[in-house]
Symmetry: C2
Subunit: 244 residues, 2 copies
């Protein structure tokens, strides 16, 4: 870009990244939502996705460690509350355990991340490092996949409840809660990015950061597909569904 | 150390570091508490110490970015609340501004840190980096200067109220609040260190971390003394009290 974009045009380009790259487009997600996975494959998904859930409050803290602006820290901290829990709310990670409990996975095994695919762990750690090492603008822009999350969560709740007899309403509590939380988060973050990405370089950096984040999410589904769908190469040490 | 210390012996050695190295022993602190500073010197102290206050929530977030243990994060996050404020509590940084307001320093100038001594800023940033880069045990051990803080705060409140007519009760609200907060924080952190520093290497690392932290605090007073007491070398760009 040689000239700075208007805010509406920058927003359009950010949203376009979601249309082209968000992980709802990945074949694994289509299988998940369409009832095409078996019990073991859904277990593998929930077990691996736990690594991402566990990384979220750490990446939010990594951003806060760099924020000199107290008002921004005061706004951002509720994201850590949302995931780790605060006061009466047990938090999103606890709700994720409801799902893995329901899928008959041992909590300590899930929490240890010992059975997760290495590619999953690498992707999640890359996200935490990105947030710590890049500019605050890029770190905040990378959170904007939440713009695209409510649609996927609504689809996931409906699709999983309809298609899997082992998925009940209390197992999808995590996603229901995120339907409320994500819009609040992303409208704040979007306004921040549109306000602070002024130069062509900053705008390109924000677009690249969001692209990077879609890659973090996509890579996790690629790894699941390869290990648990086709060709089914489960790496040594990784979770093996019963009978495989 | 060739053999591991018992927990009581480790605690004794940690406390001994405070007895020998905590900044209440620094000549500048003795002057501050004893009413030996003039208005401009107290201004310089409050202005510089603001940098430390502002760094605290960032160093706590830096630790949280590394903590894999959700329970530990849930415990630690209240420190960020204490400083940045949360809900009805405006927080410790806001209370620090009450002090700098009372000392007729402009808030924007204080917050900019533009008038702070470079040595102050370097020391504070060294603390944030230490917490991020060292082990979680060392990061937590470095917080243990709070073991020694209540005594200095009580002495400071009494000494400053008695000795300076420009210091009133609402200006020392920060220190009053810390009289309640610090003991809670440090008893948790001390128990954690005593439980997790088991090997001689870990114990030495914890002792070194606390020593490092006393150096972070001491260096700030050295810089103040040099610039504003004797020989009074105020670096270019740093705050100059009226008439100097």
């Amino acid at each position: 870009m040689s000239e700075a974009l208007s805010a509406p045009e920058l927003e359009r380009r950010l949203r376009k990244i979601g249309e082209e790259r968000y992980h709802n487009l990945h074949p694994f997600h289509k299988m998940l939502h369409g009832g095409k996975l078996d019990f073991g494959q859904v277990q593998a998904w929930a077990l691996n996705r736990y690594c991402y859930q566990a990384a979220i409050p750490r990446k939010d803290a990594a951003l806060m460690a760099k924020l000199e602006d107290r008002e921004l820290r005061r706004e951002w901290i509720h994201r850590i509350h949302d995931h780790d829990g605060f006061g009466a709310d047990a938090g999103g990670i606890e709700r994720w355990f409801k799902l893995t409990d329901g899928l008959q996975l041992d909590r300590a095994y899930v929490a240890s991340q010992a059975g997760a695919l290495p590619a999953t762990r690498f992707a999640c750690e890359a996200y935490v490092r990105f947030v710590y090492e890049r500019s605050n603008l890029e770190a905040i822009a990378s959170s904007l996949t939440e713009l695209f999350a409510p649609a996927i969560h609504a689809e996931r709740i409906a699709g999983m409840l309809e298609n899997y007899d082992f998925i009940s309403d209390d197992l999808v509590a995590y996603f229901r809660k995120r339907l409320d939380q994500a819009p609040r988060d992303c409208s704040f973050a979007l306004a921040h990015v549109l306000e602070h990405a002024r130069t062509p370089e900053q705008q390109q950096a924000a677009l690249n950061a969001l692209t990077f984040k879609t890659e973090v999410l996509w890579a996790q589904l690629d790894a699941l597909y390869l290990a648990y769908v086709d060709p089914g190469f489960i790496p040594p040490g990784a979770f093996r569904p019963e009978g495989r």
